[in-house]
């Protein structure tokens, strides 16, 4: 079955552009576990950093030494050496770092903060902000308007009234039973047809049964689209390939869908490398900041390579796609007793693509204990909601007055970080 044959699902035309101009995509990547912002983009310009972290602070950039941080042309911040693949995007002037970003009303719990950041407010009662975006602007009526990519569980960002699929990868996103197959290669898949018929029957809304049926319909329809999008896809990244991590799978799927013209507007992807570094954040030895036998370093580099692969792979449409990477909180400024760090407050978020302007966003200027939040955590300089909101307004052309709908109770501060003109 082709995507075209699904037009008319739910009784609406397949293309119904309204308030949104369409054609733009936001990909939100979540580093689950509380990524250490001071480690990703170390404040090498601050001597206090080295006092707080005698074992794990990364040394200032030294071109001749791969075991030091990378120079990003900023007097205070540098880049973790394991993120080196991102330098290509950085040097192209298409990447931004917001080093002190947080959910202002957040706390120190992974699970609360992930949920609240996903919901867009300290509330358990509302849908995810990406879902609320889809509800608030008229978009394309398509089962793949929004999606969770690369993993099997729903993300709080994308969950809500508009049901979106979670797709781990193309190969696994299919369902056939030999006893219900006819035609070459199961061209006539009677099982998914039966499922569609059964699940399309209306039932009482807001029940678990309704949710199961709605997800089945979305599943059957997304199967067809994903299969079709992948048919002629090749990764075109100058020799790079995606990894088989959640991030790699998710970005690869996003590239497949976008390059096939699927009207994907919002996607949620996870980048989990073991960010919850309570202990042993670095290995021993002489090459302790870049040693690729150490899993944390290796997976960080693998992720950075996935971002670069994606950046190259979609180079012809990079103006239409913003990738925003964030986490639920940063970590304690002072290292703990086991060469690790505990739960903190603000952390480093970064973005690339679309109108992302180059450089370092609002930042702290000192790690002096007296300027820290509760004397322990890096304070907030950017509310994450403002990053998302600016992308929605500047990149997705969402009317600015909708920001308070996407993020209830929030007053928008425009940091002008997404101001590149294409």
């Amino acid at each position: 079955m082709t995507a075209a044959s699904m037009a008319g699902v739910a009784g609406a035309p397949q293309f119904a552009f309204g308030q949104s101009a369409g054609g733009k995509t936001l990909i939100k990547v979540f580093m689950r576990g509380g990524a250490d912002g001071l480690h990703l983009f170390p404040p090498v310009g601050d001597p206090i950093y080295y006092q707080h972290r005698p074992n794990i602070a990364i040394e200032a950039p030294l071109d001749s030494d791969a075991n030091t941080a990378l120079n990003i042309g900023d007097s205070y911040r540098a880049m973790n050496p394991n993120l080196e693949p991102l330098m290509e995007i950085w040097n192209a002037g298409r990447m931004m770092v917001a080093p002190s970003t947080a959910l202002e009303e957040g706390n120190r719990s992974h699970f609360d903060n992930q949920r609240w950041i996903g919901n867009g407010a300290r509330s358990n009662l509302i849908d995810g902000y990406l879902n609320r975006y889809m509800q608030s602007v008229d978009g394309v009526n398509d089962p793949l308007r929004g999606a969770v990519l690369g993993k099997t569980n729903m993300s709080a960002e994308a969950a809500g009234n508009i049901v979106v699929p979670a797709i781990q990868d193309r190969d696994g996103f299919n369902l056939r039973n030999n006893n219900f197959c006819a035609g070459n290669g199961c061209a006539d898949n009677q099982l998914t047809e039966l499922m569609r018929e059964i699940s399309s029957h209306p039932v009482v809304e807001d029940t678990m049964e309704a949710s199961v049926r709605e997800n089945q319909v979305i599943m059957v329809e997304s199967i067809a689209q994903v299969q079709e999008a992948g048919e002629n896809y090749v990764t075109n990244a100058n020799g790079l390939e995606y990894s088989n991590s959640r991030l790699g799978r998710g970005l690869r799927l996003a590239a497949q869908l976008l390059k096939a013209g699927v009207p994907l507007e919002v996607a949620a992807i996870d980048w989990n490398i073991g960010w919850d570094t309570h202990s042993n954040q670095i290995p021993g030895g002489t090459n302790r900041f870049a040693d690729q036998t150490f899993g944390y370093h290796r997976r960080m580099r693998e992720g950075a390579t996935d971002f670069l692969t994606f950046y190259r792979d979609i180079s012809t449409i990079i103006d239409d796609v913003v990738v925003l990477v964030g986490t639920e909180f940063g970590r304690t400024v002072i290292e703990n007793g086991s060469r690790g760090t505990d739960h903190g407050y603000s952390s480093t978020w970064f973005a690339f693509g679309g109108p992302t302007g180059p450089g370092v966003g609002p930042d702290i200027t000192t790690l002096d204990v007296n300027s820290l939040y509760r004397n322990r955590f890096t304070p907030i300089r950017t509310e994450y909601k403002d990053l998302v909101a600016e992308i929605m307004v500047r990149h997705m052309n969402m009317p600015e007055q909708l920001v308070s709908t996407i993020f209830p109770y929030h007053t928008f501060t425009n940091h002008i970080l997404f101001n590149r003109s294409s």
């Binding site: 120190r108 719990s109 992974h110 699970f111 609360d112 969770v148 993993k151 099997t152 569980n153 729903m154 969950a159 699929p165 979670a166 797709i167 781990q168 696994g172 996103f173 299919n174 369902l175 056939r176 039973n177 030999n178 006893n179 219900f180 099982l191 039966l194 499922m195 018929e197 059964i198 699940s199 029957h201 039932v203 029940t207 678990m208 049964e209 949710s211 199961v212 049926r213 997800n215 089945q216 979305i218 599943m219 997304s222 199967i223 309570h278 202990s279 703990n336 007793g337 086991s338 690790g340 505990d342 739960h343 509760r374 322990r376």
Partner: protein, 566 residues
């Protein structure tokens, strides 16, 4: 039989049937003449033919909620012949009213077991909800000889020091208990505690503790909360999972100190702050473990709890949100601080409330109704945190089986989905590979108890698993199983012979009743009848080989929306 065609079962003597739908069974006096029955349902206006079993004369049909949309339903039966349209019996009519059937059978089978089997369904129907709950809460007196005879514990005997093999073996072990033990509620509750006090192997050699801890929570599923909390605090698996083995006086690691509050006891909404987390972490400094077979090579490493006084913070610890100070102690007495704190936390009302919320979420509704939580808290208070008595109070709450909004309002986790399919289809471990694909059903959906990394444990709420990626993962793997009935001991022909049903309508109703605890929709039933009859429209399992029809039926059952509900 007193007339040419009549109903023999379904509904009460007063003509009341379950508003959620009910199967009606009937018979014709002369099946040689009448091989089908025309059924008309008014006022919903459905008219259709159902098959008559040639040897028994039995037939079945079903009423659905739609048939009662505007009041009572009238069912008219006319026996007929497929060979001659002029051969019909006198029509006979029955009037039915939809009523609330408060027998708790569906609720018991969906929530306190891993799903109905054909045998268990009839048994609970016979003995009733209350008797079954009481029986399940007394596991020592449950006859479990058939299960024990299969010695599934051998799956986790003689393992070598390899986590991959151990994790697979223990997953199979857990699946065997869930699928085949008669002590179903003990297994459900054991899984609950194991997930509440969740821990997994994290970059250490603490492997076997996954098996030992799960067995403890199984054996003590109806034990006292304080004992369970203390056990988990001392577990080497927990210690390495939440870094408490890294924490020492002056070099604190707050991971366990935070999670014992947030996840194990008072819950994240309790009014504790960073100072409390630090104080609690200091109390538990020195709670560690040691290897007990340090010199044995190539065998599983054995560990046991060890309190290391030299790592313990001996100062007093003020815990503001508990309005208490734990007096600091040095030497071996330092361990008493943690034991004292555990006793305090275990009896704290915030803990009762938080843990009761999770128990009610598991057994009643994803959003725990306040009255059930209160019942749970009261029972906790009255019984010193005895989990068996807490469960009895929650399950015996009158609303549990009478409030229709609490029925089929939850979704199965991928683990529950896999096990319930085994039970519904009567699959049996006829060969050594039985558990291999079955493990993948959960894993493909992102549900892997032994490799999950978050201390929250795996989510219980339906919204975590009801999404296309999770569903497609488990559907694909379960489809691979039902495509191979012989390899999994699935024998639907044998099942229907035992049950004494044989027409497409009878078999559809039977399979769906077992699969869904008798809660399924009209379109699911009609699709099931259709796939049994196949393209030629004929289903005659006593006269010809209907293997394809049975494979289609099981293939359909496992992807039906109602099969995913519980």
């Amino acid at each position: 039989m007193t007339s040419a065609v009549q109903l023999t079962a379904g509904g009460t003597a007063d003509g009341v049937v379950a508003a959620t739908g009910q199967t009606l069974f009937g018979g014709v006096m002369d099946p040689m003449t009448f091989d089908m029955v025309t059924v008309s349902v008014a006022p919903s206006g459905r008219t259709f033919n159902v098959d008559v079993a040639p040897d028994t004369g039995q037939f079945a049909t079903r009423l659905f909620p739609e048939d009662f949309a505007s009041g009572p339903a009238r069912v008219t039966l006319t026996a007929a012949s497929s060979a001659d349209a002029n051969v019909t019996s006198q029509p006979i009519s029955y009037e039915f009213e939809a009523g609330r059937v408060v027998d708790g059978v569906s609720q018991a089978l969906s929530r306190i077991t891993y799903g109905p089997t054909a045998d268990l369904y009839s048994r609970v129907r016979t003995i009733g909800f209350e008797a079954y709950v009481n029986e399940q809460l007394d596991p020592d007196n449950i006859r479990n000889a058939a299960f024990e005879g299969q010695d599934f514990d051998s799956l986790v005997r003689n393992l070598d020091n390899n986590f991959f093999r151990l994790a697979n073996a223990e997953m199979s072990h857990r699946m065997a208990y869930a699928a085949f033990s008669e002590k179903q509620l003990q297994e459900v509750m054991g899984e609950f505690w194991s997930n509440h006090f969740f821990a997994s192997t994290k970059d250490t050699q603490v492997f076997e503790q996954n098996i030992i801890d799960r067995q403890f929570f199984r054996d003590n599923a109806f034990g006292r909360f304080e004992d369970l909390l203390l056990y988990s605090a001392r577990s080497p698996l927990m210690s390495q999972f939440l870094d408490n083995d890294q924490s020492r006086a002056g070099r604190l690691n707050e991971n366990y100190g935070r999670e014992i509050l947030e996840l194990h006891t008072v819950g994240v909404d309790a009014p504790y702050g960073d100072e409390d987390v630090i104080a609690v972490s200091r109390v538990f400094t020195g709670w560690n473990f040691r290897r007990t077979n340090p010199n044995a090579n190539n065998v599983l490493h054995d560990y046991e709890f060890e309190f290391r006084a030299d790592r313990h913070d001996t100062e007093d610890k003020e815990i503001p949100f508990l309005s208490t100070t734990i007096a600091g102690r040095s030497g071996a007495a330092g361990v008493q601080e943690g034991e004292e704190l555990i006793a305090l936390l275990a009896s704290n009302p915030l803990t009762q409330n938080y843990v009761c919320g999770k128990i009610v979420q598991r057994f009643v509704a994803d959003v725990p109704p306040a009255n059930f939580v209160q019942t749970c808290v009261d029972a906790w208070e009255a019984n010193d945190g005895d989990a068996g008595e807490i469960l009895r109070a929650v399950l015996m709450h009158p609303e549990y089986i009478s409030n229709v909004e609490l029925q089929a309002n939850k979704a199965k986790t991928p683990f529950e989905y896999a096990i319930s399919a085994v039970r519904a289809l009567g699959a049996r471990p006829v060969n050594d590979n039985f558990f291999g694909r079955l493990r993948e059903v959960g894993r493909a959906a992102g549900y892997d108890q032994l490799r999950f990394g978050l201390p929250t444990g795996l989510p219980e709420v339906g919204e975590a698993w009801v999404n296309s990626a999770s569903m497609i993962g488990s559907y694909r793997r379960m489809t691979q199983i039902v495509e191979r009935p012989g390899e999994y001991g699935i024998d639907l022909q044998g099942m229907i012979e035992d049950a004494g049903v044989q027409t497409a309508e009878e078999v559809a109703a039977f399979l769906l009743t077992i699969g869904t605890a008798d809660r399924y929709s009209q379109e699911e039933y009609e699709a099931m009848v259709d796939v049994l009859k196949g393209e030629d429209g004929i289903f005659e399992p006593m006269a010809r080989n209907e293997r394809d029809a049975f494979e289609r039926a099981s293939g359909l059952l496992i992807v039906l929306p109602s099969f995913l509900l519980q």
